[in-house]
């Protein structure tokens, strides 16, 4: 039970620390050093030099992280070997990585330029191919050729298919074209409108991290090139930033690179600078730890400017009764340029959960700064609890006598053993006081645990507070005897007090009680035991009863009656003989013989049908024999009829 209590407390604490930011216009996270280390780990998978795109993303990713690429000569050699291709995508990877590494060898520049020039000239090139070609030509320092033709091809391709992917690539292409890129600037709004808002906190495009990063970085790059602010509001920028940071645990190389690249774009562009305001100190604030520290930084954790910012806690509202305890308290800067702290306990707030609304402003106001107002962080003000006025004792269940109560002081244990039997009630009264304010309080968990050390069984009851916040624990031993299993003996009684805002939740062994329960008679005890045992023991086996065969008559009776049935046949033959039946008139003609044979055959067929055949076969044979029989019979009977007439 103790461990469960602590687990619950820990969970509540843990949930507090990771509570999501409720505000919509602030960035709730930033790329911390641990995240950067993890991304570096993702990139380091490419150094077995097996996959060209991975090498490309890893080289560029390392550069963005400020790390040096290992085995640089081998990487350059791999790139050089792969440069003899005409695929624009491969050339893009090769030239991009080459330029980033500033490799010392030389690439077959003229071949590459020729191949890419063809791609640019072809009117059916896809938008991604155009992007790869333009970027690669830029990387090797070659001119892109006729910009107008490129724009025409691009616009034709977009008309055919203006999916988000193509739009993203076209923004990047247009960003390379200088002022000619204006044609694509108007499409930025079309693209941004297609973003999906999730939870009013994230903005993302369908397709996930790569497409969103491509579009956002393309939009900002293009806006920078044509020097016009992009049709993205500060709110939207912050929501995009929130989305990217929510994906910072990406495991693919391409995703990791796109994430770093777009975060860099969001920091280094001329239009928006999202600020990240996050809680640095533990979310639990108490007298021992009175300061709340927040970090105000850009998305990569760097300071927003060289001068200190003015960070203000606009308000602190208690969750639940919405009482505001402070307004406009300034944070003080600390040694770390991005961290600011404030002493919250100066205001002597009551225990509970508080929502702090924080704003940060630059000394020189920067119009780019977004997401710096109204950041909502939740902290928890803890208190210490003192238990006092603890009295424990017994009283008769029918309340004829006064309760015999003894005072106990925490953390002592009652020196004598308390005796109680099934006619009595066990009573404990106590009060829980908030040490900070000196007032009585109620807590989430006020449990009384009775533990039998011999059988290691325990049972837990809840102590209820009354209207004046005094706790009372009342155990009627007579009615609760069944829960104890009627097991008399020594039990240790513990008081367990816990709450999310308590800094000193405790479990206190108050006394040892000797409980005497009425002995159950054997039958009741046995039935009480077996009832539960039956629930968990295997059930009785159900024996399947096969269908009993019908009663058959004895064989003798059956045979007797089979014989009896033949008797009328004998009678018939005798009668016929007496009547003088004869076949003297049998016409030995073909038809007569055929008829009789056919008829015999039909009845023989029926016998075979009974034994062997199915109906279909029988009908088949019957048709054959039947036709013969019919024809013969017809002829024979006609002859007899004509003879009769004569």
């Amino acid at each position: 039970m103790n461990s469960v209590c602590w687990c619950v407390l820990f969970l509540v604490l843990g949930i507090d620390l990771h509570m999501p930011v409720a505000g919509t216009t602030t960035t709730a996270a930033y790329l911390a050093d641990t995240d950067k280390a993890r991304l570096k780990q993702v990139f380091s998978g490419a150094w077995d030099l097996k996959d060209l795109p991975s090498i490309h993303y890893a080289v560029l990713g390392y550069k963005l992280l400020g790390q040096t690429v290992p085995k640089q000569p081998e990487v350059c050699k791999t790139l050089q070997a792969a440069a003899s291709t005409t695929s624009p995508e491969t050339l893009y990877y090769v030239t991009n990585a080459w330029r980033s590494l500033a490799c010392s060898g030389s690439l077959p520049v003229s071949n590459i330029a020729k191949a890419l020039g063809e791609v640019l000239q072809k009117e059916t090139s896809t938008v991604p191919d155009l992007f790869y070609a333009v970027q690669s030509l830029n990387n090797i320092g070659q001119k892109k050729g006729d910009a107008a033709k490129l724009i025409k091809t691009l616009q034709a391709a977009l008309k055919k298919d203006d999916s988000l992917l193509n739009l993203g690539y076209s923004f990047h292409i247009a960003a390379q074209l200088g002022t000619d890129g204006t044609f694509a600037f108007d499409r930025i709004e079309d693209a941004i409108v297609q973003a999906d808002e999730v939870d009013s906190r994230f903005l993302q495009f369908e397709g996930g991290l790569s497409i969103t990063a491509l579009l956002v970085s393309g939009a900002y790059k293009l806006a920078g090139t044509v020097n016009k602010p992009p049709p993205i509001t500060g709110d939207q920028a912050v929501k995009f930033a929130n989305y990217f940071l929510s994906r910072r645990s990406v495991q693919t190389l391409k995703g990791a690179y796109m994430l770093l690249e777009v975060l860099n774009t969001l920091i280094n562009n001329k239009f928006h600078l999202p600020a990240a305001i996050t809680l640095v100190s533990p979310a639990a604030v108490s007298l021992e730890q009175p300061r709340v520290s927040v970090r105000v930084s850009d998305l990569l954790g760097k300071p927003l400017s060289t001068e200190p910012l003015t960070v203000t806690a606009e308000s602190a509202t208690r969750v639940g009764d919405e009482v505001v305890v402070l307004s406009k308290k300034k944070f003080e800067p600390t040694a770390d340029k991005t961290v600011y702290s404030v002493n919250l306990m100066e205001l002597k707030p009551e225990r509970g959960f508080y929502k702090l609304s924080i704003s940060a402003a630059l000394a020189k106001p920067d119009p780019r700064l977004v997401g710096n107002v109204g950041a909502s962080l939740t902290v928890k003000v803890m208190c210490a609890v003192a238990v006092e006025n603890v009295e424990i004792g017994t009283v008769d269940a029918d309340q004829t006598t006064q309760a015999k109560l003894t005072k106990v002081v925490y953390p002592n244990k009652l020196p004598s053993k308390l005796e109680a039997d099934s006619l009595q009630k066990l009573i404990m009264k106590f009060g829980l006081k908030d040490k900070n304010t000196g007032k009585l309080m109620t807590v989430h968990q006020a449990f009384v645990r009775l533990y039998n050390p011999k059988t290691k069984q325990e049972i837990i009851f809840v102590a209820e507070p009354d209207s004046s916040k005094n706790y009372k624990f009342d155990l009627d031993l007579g009615s609760k005897a069944a829960e104890f299993g009627h097991l008399s003996g020594d039990y240790s009684l513990e008081l367990i007090v816990g709450d999310a805002v308590l800094s000193n939740s405790f479990s206190w062994e108050v006394a040892t009680v000797h409980l005497k329960f009425a002995e159950l008679n054997i039958g009741a005890a046995a039935s009480a035991v077996t009832k539960d045992a039956y629930l968990y023991a295997p059930k009785p086996e159900i024996k399947h009863l096969f269908r009993e065969p019908e009663r058959r008559p004895p064989v003798f009776v059956s045979n007797l009656f089979t014989g009896l049935v033949c008797v009328p046949l004998l009678i018939l033959l005798i009668l016929w003989a007496k009547l003088g039946i004869n076949i003297s008139n049998f016409p030995f003609s073909l038809s007569a013989i055929g008829f009789h044979l056919g008829l015999g055959g039909i009845f023989a067929l029926f016998g075979v049908f009974w034994l062997q055949l199915n109906m279909f076969q029988t009908i088949k044979y019957l048709l054959c024999i039947g036709i013969i029989t019919f024809l013969c019979g017809n002829k024979m009977l006609a002859k007899i009829a004509s003879e009769h007439k004569r």
Binding site: P553, L575, I581, M615
Partner: protein, 112 residues
């Protein structure tokens, strides 16, 4: 009572004397079928109706044979010539045979 025995005696005498031989042959066949049916029924009463389909098929075979033979007798009887004008006794016999074929295939199917 005496009247009853006189009536039966007279009836029997009339029957033996005035019935054509052909009809007597059919009548003895009728008696045979009847007795067979009775014996089957007694057996069923004794040992129960399992298997019911076999009992039914046997019993109904007897009943149907009886009915068909009665029909044949009616058609063949020269005294009924007026009622069966246009249907010769041979035709009646052919119908009798045809009906028997159908009856027996049904019975064989049902006997199980």
């Amino acid at each position: 009572m005496a009247n009853l025995s006189t009536v039966i005696g007279k009836f029997y005498g009339e029957y033996v004397n005035n019935t054509p031989k052909k009809l007597k042959i059919i009548d003895s066949y009728l008696l045979y079928v009847f007795l067979t049916g009775v014996i089957q029924f007694v057996y069923c009463c004794l040992v129960g109706t399992f298997p019911f389909n076999s009992f039914l098929s046997g019993f109904i075979s007897c009943v149907s044979c009886f009915v068909l033979a009665v029909c044949l007798r009616l058609q063949v009887n020269p005294q009924n010539k007026n009622q069966f004008y246009g249907i010769s006794p041979e035709r009646g016999f052919a119908d009798f045979i045809f009906a028997h074929i159908i009856l027996h295939i049904v019975v064989m199917n049902f006997i199980g």
